[in-house]
Symmetry: C2
């Protein structure tokens, strides 16, 4: 299971079922739900899934936070309908699928984040992603819903396997494997603690946006495991008052 779909704060169970159905149609089985409004399990989700949780083999896990849901993933991409202010790599659906497939070939796991039905993903959730997936739609009429967005991503992931011969396995440019998300999160938490101690996040009403910007900066760097170890050492060195 090298790709997971992560639904963040989904509202209607029916839509969770549609996503599971789309996943099963294209042989995906790892569904993760963060803080679903109506709890889990959900009768409406089962009804709409057309058996995706049974015959389709879709496994569903529930998490409290996005961070927990993606901790074992090496590439996290956030789906968004609108332009976002965060500076991140932007992928079309097909291009995203090819990137994910390349990583799969190297044994690396990817996550796709989908936001709540009306509000989409929060800036905080997006800041946890390495990049953004946008959908090529009619600029005059764009009303893709959650199930439709999931269907298109699942379809392109399945298709990308057909292009297998043309795609080379993903190789980090820097001779070390990409850092799993949990390693990045651990580093970020450590960095934040240090910065809080130094009163970096001031004034208080700007603290949240400052943290998000820092998080987004780190995610954009596509850090390898070796990079994170290096940065850990740098931060530890800096905080050392005796330095």
């Amino acid at each position: 299971m090298s790709v997971c779909f992560v639904l963040v704060n989904p509202q209607m169970g029916e839509n969770i079922g549609f996503v599971a159905r789309a996943m099963a149609n294209f042989a995906l089985q790892d569904l993760r739900i963060v803080n679903p409004r109506d709890g889990w399990p959900n009768v409406a989700a089962n009804a709409a899934s057309s058996g995706a949780f049974v015959e389709g083999g879709v496994q569903c896990q529930v998490f409290d936070t996005v961070q927990d849901a993606v901790s074992d993933c090496h590439l996290v991409l956030a789906t968004t309908a609108r332009e976002r202010t965060q500076a991140k790599q932007v992928y079309g659906v097909r291009e995203a699928a090819q990137n994910i497939f390349q990583r799969k070939q190297s044994g690396l796991k990817s996550a796709i984040l989908f936001g709540a039905e009306r509000s989409g993903l929060s800036n905080e959730s997006i800041s946890l992603a390495h990049g953004i997936i946008t959908f090529p739609v009619n600029s005059q009429f764009s009303s893709l819903n959650l199930g439709q967005a999931a269907l298109l991503v699942a379809y392109e992931l399945f298709q990308s396997q057909d292009d297998e011969g043309e795609l080379l396995p993903f190789v980090s440019h820097f001779g070390s494997p990409p850092a799993p998300h949990a390693m990045l999160a651990h580093f970020m938490q450590n960095l934040q603690n240090e910065l809080v101690a130094k009163h970096y996040f001031m004034p208080a009403d700007k603290a949240e946006i400052m943290q998000q910007n820092l998080q987004a900066l780190i995610m954009r760097m596509d850090l390898t495991e070796a990079d994170v170890k290096t940065l850990f050492a740098v931060v530890n060195s800096l905080r050392n008052d005796r330095g």
Copy 2:
């Protein structure tokens, strides 16, 4: 409007609305409905369309027969979930989109047929098509519904415009434009009349399948306008008892 979606005997208005929404998302506007179970206009279709018939600009026409619905089209492709016995060219969704786009570049119109929710397209409807579109899905779990199938076709049609540079306009191999469907239908009707007069379609309980096979054979030939004129002359010549 060089591509139309044709829904044959659709049952739930909601699904017609989902199809219209998928079309509008990808800038398609020519929707044709053959013999909808619940008539037209349809309140449920409007509700599910998210405004596709208004802001999305989707135009809907109702027809009594598939033949009427596709009479101005030069390429007719039937979507099917199962293997079919009729010998026809089979396209994946992406490949179909590229073929349609090439024809569009040459001013030729294409139609995609979608069957009723449960039963799909009848063999009779499929016999009117030049080829078949299949969806690459998980062989262990395949439950694409009408709205999902339409979304994938619409998405690939929209995507194919991005590949424009790589695709050459469609050129008939035979120096004459492809025959529009109405011309083929006229020829088929004439041929059938002649054959009925000659008691070709016997025994009576095989007549329907014999007609479908003949229709499928004609559609598979990708006839140009010049070809049809030639065949008309051949048939006329053959039926002439003084020959």
